[in-house]
Symmetry: C2
Subunit: 560 residues, 2 copies
């Protein structure tokens, strides 16, 4: 019935009956030649009739459909068919029957007897072929059904693995294709999907953060905006690139946890709903908590420190951190995943700083080792930043803050505000310093130690030898901050003095709660807070933190 | 100067000079005997004078203090003294000098020359002795300073490890004590602390959830209320019991993560701030989000499912879950740590159910293996529940919901509401069922499968063979629920029908966001959500979930 919709089908020849009728209507008596011609045409007509009969018979056979039960709805059977993951398929499967479950990436109907179906599984593609040999059982109906599948539907396909004559360039599995024997629907997609996975595979337009509209590139191919991609995250996550990015993100959490547990640290879970805002900032979300207000934790700072005062020695947390900042930049979110740690030390806060440096070197080195394939995939879409450069000797490069100032000054940057301790580096200065350090020391990861006390929070310990500076440090990747940390003041009296020096009122309720944690003896300690999403972003050189976040939240976005 | 304050010092003898003067003032001439006596007394007086002079000299020496620099403020030196953790101390240290950093648990002054100092490190105690031999250098001043230390202060102690004559029953390290050579202040505690660690070591009064006041036990010893303990969490965490509980809590998260990663699952981090409440419940916290409202996630349900629709295959999360329920029970919190997972399956949701059963058996078995010591410590305070009974064959016991109904009915419980599918089990029924199952099957961990559709949320998949029931399951420990899970409906149309059947409006904005996730083809999947705090609570048999939570949050508590 639908054959006419197929491309490249030859038009039916003129009906032989029409030619025969023309002679009967003619006036002139037939010549010998004409008779001969008529006999010839009769034979031809008979032949055509026979052929038509044969075609009709074949059509009747086809109407019966030799492939019933081999396609369509999944049969309701208790027999379990073992399936193979794309990543497991190899030459050992040639000429063997295998079953896979995957999405329809694309379909193409070559003829009524031949179709192609590209399958996709976690971003990787495998080509399948469906052909109807005269002897069946694959039928034209089955081919039609297969090549008419809605893009993105999930199907179960059983077929014979074959080595293709030439490698299939458009598939990830270029050396293996499947000849379809059975195909069943697992989950059908809507007829129209809001965007194509292949378009989402390409990076969003530069500078497109939130409000970008669909654009086309130089060749007229649509570039899907970041907004459209995030709005349609289900499709967006199916891209090969996002499959890889979400693995890297998982890997950062795994490696952080691995390192912390191996060091004897305890995994903690601190409350995100708190009765007061402990860090004195205004950038805190307010929550309706029964008949009063609660506040979402901006960091687990106080709770980590209570654990230290409570003799837990070394603790870490992996959890959400909330910032009510109305920043619409490439690297700010209102909610992100914090990797926090806090640890006692015995003699010097550099014990903790070294511990943290080793942790970062461990995470970054192991990412490069364990996720080579994923990094290669991501670099196809985001090649600009290049490989992340780790320090060659396996040790973090540590400079003092003032060394950073000197390097910038040397490069002609106006650092007068920094020299007067009025301001921390601007983002632009940090990026430039990252460039300078990369050129000079050949590393994308480094640490600045000894920040001026004036630019750090009240709970930071001043350097006992020069209280203009503090025992505090920031970690940088590609010139952007991924961690801030410090030795903390561990005595209530010193804390009160530091609050007052910063113009804060120690008698405020939130501060009293904080101070109480230090009145019963708290050992010296230091720690820090890392942003998981920033590590992913800068390690991979992604242009926007939203690309490194599963469900990003910013002042405009609370969905999906 | 302070000698007079020391106990047991003999009163000074009458001065010998007074006796000699009496003779000079006398009228009678001395007899031979009297002269002899006088000579004797003179000699005695001279002896006494010599002794007094000697004592004065000694006092002068003592005033100099032979121990200066050996106690008090930590010397400002670059020399690093390696320290030993209590857990590392053993017989190999006998007669050797070791340095430890620990809290003052208790002090006792035996005499001016002898004192005792009990040290505490992460809940474990070590006895130290300080004695002043005549030859120094430990002085009476040093002993006085040591035995006057504020309880809970943190000190650094250097001493010689000795085998005590008899084992020290009151210390955890009963076979080793330290003879103090040096002692320095690391962090001083306030003179009065709000409660004693030793009192917090004892379980809070039964039934005391939030509002309990301090009580005394049968012997007049104070029982600190749970409220006081939680208000003073810094001290409370220092108990041996809490040190162990926080390790078990860390262990549950570690084992869950270990199992999930080993199975090839991806670690995800989903947003807690969302634009709408997806599960249709009213028990959701509202957040002021710039110029509009956001809602705190009651579970990562929708986001886990978006990941599945996004081809991530198997995902898990460890993170906070928020419930705006005004429940003041022993097992409800407004914020707890969720261990969530979601996973595709190929043939039957029991693939995922088996996966989850194996996960729980793995976690519980490994807890018993890796945390024997911690469990033993906790059982000293909470012995009632006894060891957690795991299924002997290493496989979870799985019953159908209706089997549970039958067991209860058999035991004489009125299950008519459950038989009519009007209600799920009550908490009391669950506990009783736990008892029955423990007696019958000798296990504290079991699974109920196939709950009636009527008592499960709209996104639960009905059993295709009998839609009265559903492909859903709960996990129980000691008769209390620790996990709820199910196969989820994976098609938008079926979801809409299920919403309508439950009296929900599929066109509501929150539901449309949810439905959109299933319009582009979503594979069949199932999952579940575990409560970390409940696993800790029921594994250890703690009477209150607040005892299994680092910083518990309930309708009354938002601190510390």
């Amino acid at each position: 019935m639908a054959d006419s919709t197929l491309p490249h089908r030859p038009k039916p020849e003129q009906a032989p009956e029409a030619a025969a009728a023309a002679t009967e209507d003619g006036a002139a008596a037939p010549s010998k030649n004409a008779l001969k011609k008529a006999a010839k045409e009769k034979a031809k007509a008979e032949k055509a009739a026979a052929r038509a009969a044969q075609e009709q018979a074949q059509k009747a056979i086809q109407a019966v459909d030799t492939a019933v039960g081999l396609y369509g709805k999944l049969p309701d059977t208790e027999d379990i068919v073992p399936t193979v993951h794309f990543s497991q398929l190899g030459e050992e499967h040639y000429e063997k029957e295998v079953t896979v479950i995957a999405r329809v990436d694309n379909t193409r109907s070559q003829s009524a007897k031949l179709g192609f179906l590209m399958l996709r599984q976690q971003g990787k593609k495998l080509q399948t072929v469906i052909a109807a040999p005269p002897e069946g059982p694959v039928s034209r109906q089955m081919i039609k059904w297969t090549t008419s599948l809605n893009i993105n539907s999930i199907v179960q396909v059983t077929g014979i693995a074959k080595k293709p004559a030439v490698p299939i360039a458009s598939a990830h599995l270029s050396e293996l294709e499947l000849q379809i024997k059975k195909i069943y629907m697992i989950a059908e997609s809507m007829e129209t999907i809001p965007m194509q996975v292949k378009d989402a595979e390409r990076p969003p337009p530069l500078g497109d953060i939130v409000e970008g509209e669909p654009q086309v590139d130089g060749e007229g191919v649509p570039i899907v905006s970041l907004k459209t991609r995030l709005d349609n995250r289900v499709i967006d996550l199916q891209t090969e690139t996002n499959q890889a990015i979400t693995w890297i993100s998982s890997g950062v959490a795994q490696l952080f946890t691995e390192y912390m547990l191996k060091s004897g640290s305890r995994w903690i879970f601190t409350s995100k709903l708190n009765g007061s805002s402990t860090e004195g900032g205004s950038e805190v979300f307010e929550v309706k908590y029964f008949k009063r207000n609660a506040y979402l934790a901006q960091s687990p700072q106080l709770h980590k420190q209570i654990c230290i005062a409570g003799d837990m020695g070394s603790v870490f947390e992996v959890g959400p951190v909330f910032r009510a900042e109305e920043s619409n930049t490439h690297r700010h979110l209102t909610e992100f995943t914090g990797l926090d740690f806090e640890k006692t030390f015995e003699h010097h806060y550099h014990e903790v700083l070294e511990f943290a440096e080793e942790m970062l070197v461990f995470i970054l080195t192991q990412l490069q080792e364990r996720y080579q394939k994923e990094i290669a995939v991501i670099q196809k879409s985001y090649p600009k930043a290049g490989d992340f450069k780790l320090p060659k000797n396996g040790k973090a490069l540590r400079l003092n803050y003032m060394d950073g100032v000197a390097l910038l000054k040397e490069a002609g940057v106006d650092t007068s505000e920094q020299e007067r301790f009025e301001n921390d580096f601007t983002t632009a200065m940090e990026k430039q310093l990252g460039q300078i350090i990369r050129e000079k020391y050949d590393t994308d990861f480094y640490v600045l130690d000894k920040f001026p006390m004036a630019v750090r929070p009240f709970y930071t310990k001043a350097d006992p030898k020069d209280p203009t500076f503090s025992n505090s440090y920031d970690f940088f990747m590609r010139g952007e901050e991924i961690m801030s940390g410090a030795q903390r003041i561990n005595e209530a009296k010193e804390l009160e003095e530091s609050m007052s020096a910063k113009g804060l009122d120690p008698t405020a309720e939130g501060f009293q709660d904080y101070l109480n944690a230090f009145r019963q003896g708290c050992p010296p300690h230091a720690g820090g807070g890392l942003g998981l999403n920033r590590i992913v972003m800068f390690f991979l050189g992604l242009p926007n933190i939203r690309l490194a976040t599963l469900f990003p939240r910013d002042p405009q976005r609370l969905k999906p």
